[in-house]
């Protein structure tokens, strides 16, 4: 079986991200095993739990959710890139429990995961 990893560096507000989702969807349809998607640089903003896009516009965040929930695609975010951009899975709140503003459909990872995905897949494509 052909295996693929994808690296995303464009934010959810960029129309370029639609193309990436379209590509991944077609890879799945073609029977490719998508080993994982790695979000880096401004791409990590896709993992925000609180994105709200007007109903008549492309729902980037819901597409990522669907890739994870309906197709079992692992979505890894680089936590270092996240924290610089306001995303964290370790936010102190009043009850001193740690909270997260990273979407539950994404896995908090480090750059090491990029290396893993590189090693695991036949091909790696960047968007």
């Amino acid at each position: 079986m052909r295996t693929l990893s994808v690296v995303i560096t464009t934010p959810p507000s960029s129309y370029l991200t639609i193309t990436a989702i379209d590509y991944i969807t077609h890879a799945i349809n073609a029977g490719v095993d998508v080993v994982g998607v790695f979000f880096y640089q401004d791409g990590v903003l896709n993992a925000s739990a609180n994105i709200s896009i007007p109903n008549d516009e492309y729902q980037t965040h819901k597409q990522w959710q669907s890739l994870n929930q309906d197709h079992g695609i692992d979505l890894h975010v680089c936590i270092t890139a996240c924290e610089k951009r306001g995303l964290s899975d370790d936010l102190a709140d009043s009850s001193s429990e740690s909270q997260s503003n990273i979407s539950q459909y994404f896995t908090v990872s480090g750059l090491g995961e990029l290396v893993e995905l590189t090693a695991k897949a036949d091909k790696m494509v960047q968007f």
Partner: protein
């Protein structure tokens, strides 16, 4: 080894396409996607054709149509996204020029 060059930006705006052309070899292939489709109408496109007359060139048909890019016959082969997936596996590696 061979490289699939995925060109996402317009040469009218940014310098990436010039670097892509400087890097491409005759056994590589070029796919124009997103604003990269505009490069079909840029003079650098002819430069590429002259340097590598037999190189394989594709563009995502939907991306060109959305932008009303007029493509002369035989300049570039229109493909769908599914074929970009196939191309990914036909070449040894991919460079995304964005």
């Amino acid at each position: 080894m061979t490289i699939l060059h995925v060109q996402r930006t317009s040469a009218f705006d940014k310098n990436d396409f010039a670097q892509c052309i400087a890097t491409i070899q005759s056994n590589d292939a070029l796919v124009l996607i997103d604003d990269g489709c505009y490069n079909l109408t840029h003079s650098m496109f002819n430069t590429l054709k002259n340097q590598h007359p037999d190189i394989k060139i594709f563009h995502i048909d939907d991306h060109a149509q959305a932008r009303a890019v007029k493509i002369e016959n035989s300049q570039s082969q229109p493909i769908a996204m599914a074929q970009l997936v196939e191309l990914t596996f036909e070449y040894d590696s991919t460079i995304t020029w964005q």
